[in-house]
């Protein structure tokens, strides 16, 4: 670089205060957490060994009987999740219409939205805690908890779908002289039905995980089997439950993903659904982000 070059003024390096500030705050929070948490950190080093010990116990004693029980318990969890999701959808679809900005006045939809947000803030576990004294340790408690827990999210998603539809067919229906219900049936529903169905299925996937978790509190299902297995030191049962949960979740995710893709894209070879924008489609086809039971 020794050949003569036109000399120019070099600019100043900008200060990165926001970035450094955030990192400092996070570091401070971490230190505050580490110092304050009541944990014997030496136990952390033992944790992998402890975990390994538990796993060994679990898988040494498993039998075919245990797996049968586990599969039945899994079915229970799935049944609870399914019913809860369906019930929630029955409410969510009309609620979605009630909260769609293109169908109802602004203030009304805003109010509905806040109710949905509030409902979403309450974890299903808390809901089921409240339902157990009332309904007992029954599967119905689980079903209701899941239903209540899903209404908020599903209604919000439904209303967004309805807001996103093309005005065209609605205008066309109006120009043919269709009344409100007919317009709903022929212009709004055909466009939103595939997306809503996809969301319901997506929520069902998540709810299976939720249902497994609720089982830990005693409403039945595979979570309950895991908890009982650990509590009563029936390690074989616990191990079977664990394996069934992992494998079952992975399978359900794959199956549900395939079905959802089919719902959204139509039969093979029919090309893209013209009603859904590609970017939106990509978002719809992505599955749940993680095992979020809440």
């Amino acid at each position: 670089m020794t050949a003569p070059v036109v000399l120019q003024d070099r600019p100043q390096r900008p200060a990165r205060t926001l970035l450094i500030g955030s990192l400092v705050v996070i570091a401070a929070l971490v230190v505050w957490s580490v110092l304050g948490l009541n944990i014997k950190w030496s136990r952390l080093l033992d944790a992998p060994a402890d975990l390994y010990r538990i796993f060994k116990l679990m898988f040494r004693d498993t039998s075919a009987n245990d797996f049968n029980k586990a599969l039945r318990a899994l079915w229970d969890s799935i049944a609870i999740a399914w019913l809860g999701t369906i019930i929630a959808s029955c409410f969510a679809v009309p609620f979605g219409f009630l909260a769609a900005e293109n169908l109802v006045p602004r203030w009304f939809s805003f109010g509905m939205r806040q109710i949905f947000n509030l409902l979403r803030s309450v974890p299903e576990l808390i809901i089921v805690l409240a339902l157990i004294p009332v309904l007992g340790f029954t599967k119905s408690a689980g079903v209701l908890a899941i239903a209540i827990g899903s209404i908020g999210t599903l209604s919000k998603l439904c209303s967004e779908v309805i807001e996103g539809i093309d005005r065209g067919p609605i205008e066309a229906a109006d120009s043919c002289g269709a009344n409100g219900l007919q317009r709903l049936r022929w212009a709004v529903t055909p466009q939103s039905a595939p997306e809503i169905a996809s969301f319901v299925l997506y929520r069902f996937e998540i709810n299976i995980r939720v249902s497994a978790v609720l089982g830990v509190l005693g409403v039945g299902g595979i979570g309950g089997m895991l908890r009982d297995g650990i509590r009563f030191k029936e390690w074989g049962q616990a191990g079977a439950a664990l394996v069934v949960i992992v494998v079952g979740t992975i399978l359900v995710d794959l199956l549900s993903g395939a079905v959802r893709r089919r719902i959204l894209s139509g039969p093979r070879g029919s090309g893209q659904s013209p009603d859904i924008a590609p970017a939106h489609m990509a978002k719809l086809l992505a599955g749940p982000a993680g095992g979020s039971a809440l």
Binding site: S33, K40, R43, V122, R209, I230, I250, P267, G290, A293
Partner: protein, 276 residues
């Protein structure tokens, strides 16, 4: 005006047969209905859910619902509850940060261009799949069984849960990045890690930060519930009062918790919108 009936002077064409209704659609419809009936009915494989009975039970006087009217917020002043709440926050912070930090390299290694070799790719993807298959509570139950009750199992559970959430979201973003800078890095003779650091990471940093905030949000909710299984935090206080039973206090704690979650939720949504 001539007779403009539709049938006159139109070229006759073969009319297509009406296609049979989509097999897929019918299949799905049938499955939905059958599943719903199967799961409602009161038999060995069903739930025995009866809306009438549920409504009846709900209408009965029961301590839980009546306690709502007498919700007690006295626990705000209790040092034990306060400490439990602070513990919840600490668990959420530490669990999130540790998981988030580990999630970035894992997400990078789960992509074809980010993994240094095929073995790493396969192993990392398998590990992530297994971690993702567990809801966080189940990790908590497992860890409680392994290391005993307290805050440690909760921390470990949140650590793994953060990894599950952030790796999946980050990996999805990585699938859509511009490959050009990667080629440029290779062409200049950079090592694999340097390539990742200079050509890939800058592209996903805002998205990664956004997902991290989202994970923190989820962890805050989860850490409350962890206490219910003995893994630390405000959940243990809720469980304590539930067993007494002192439902007024339980509702008080729940309401306070819901308010905090709601606030954090709104704040986080605001921050995340500014990031992306």
């Amino acid at each position: 005006m001539s007779d403009a009936s539709l049938s006159s002077a139109v070229v006759r064409q073969g009319r297509p047969r009406r296609p049979p209704p989509s097999a897929f659609g019918i299949g799905v419809g049938v499955v939905v209905i059958v599943l719903t009936i199967l799961t409602t009915w009161n038999w060995k494989y069903g739930t025995g859910f009866s809306p009438a009975e549920v409504l009846r039970k709900l209408r009965n006087r029961n301590p839980v619902v009546s306690a709502i009217a007498h919700t007690e917020f006295s626990q705000v002043f209790s040092p034990r509850s306060r400490n439990a709440f602070v513990e919840t926050l600490r668990l959420a912070v530490l669990g999130s940060v540790s998981g988030i930090v580990v999630a970035l390299p894992l997400a990078l290694w789960s992509t074809r261009f980010g993994a240094p070799n095929r073995l790493v790719l396969i192993v990392v993807r398998a590990v992530c799949n297994v971690i993702r298959a567990f809801p966080d509570i189940l990790w908590a139950v497992l860890f409680v069984a392994a290391v005993g009750i307290g805050a440690l199992p909760g921390l470990l559970a949140l650590f793994l849960f953060s990894i599950a959430v952030v790796t999946k979201l980050t990996a999805d973003t990585l699938d859509g990045i511009d490959m050009g800078p990667i080629e440029a890095a290779h062409a200049s003779g950079a090592r694999h890690s340097q390539m990742l650091r200079t050509a890939v990471v800058p592209q996903i940093l805002p998205a990664y930060a956004s997902y991290s905030l989202y994970a923190f949000e989820l962890n805050l909710r989860a850490s409350v519930v962890l206490g219910l299984v003995g893994a630390g935090g405000i959940g243990q206080r809720i469980e304590f009062f539930r067993n007494q039973p002192a439902w007024e206090k339980v509702w008080g704690l729940v309401v306070m918790f819901v308010i905090v979650v709601f606030i954090v939720d709104r704040l986080s949504t605001l921050l995340r919108r500014r990031l992306v």
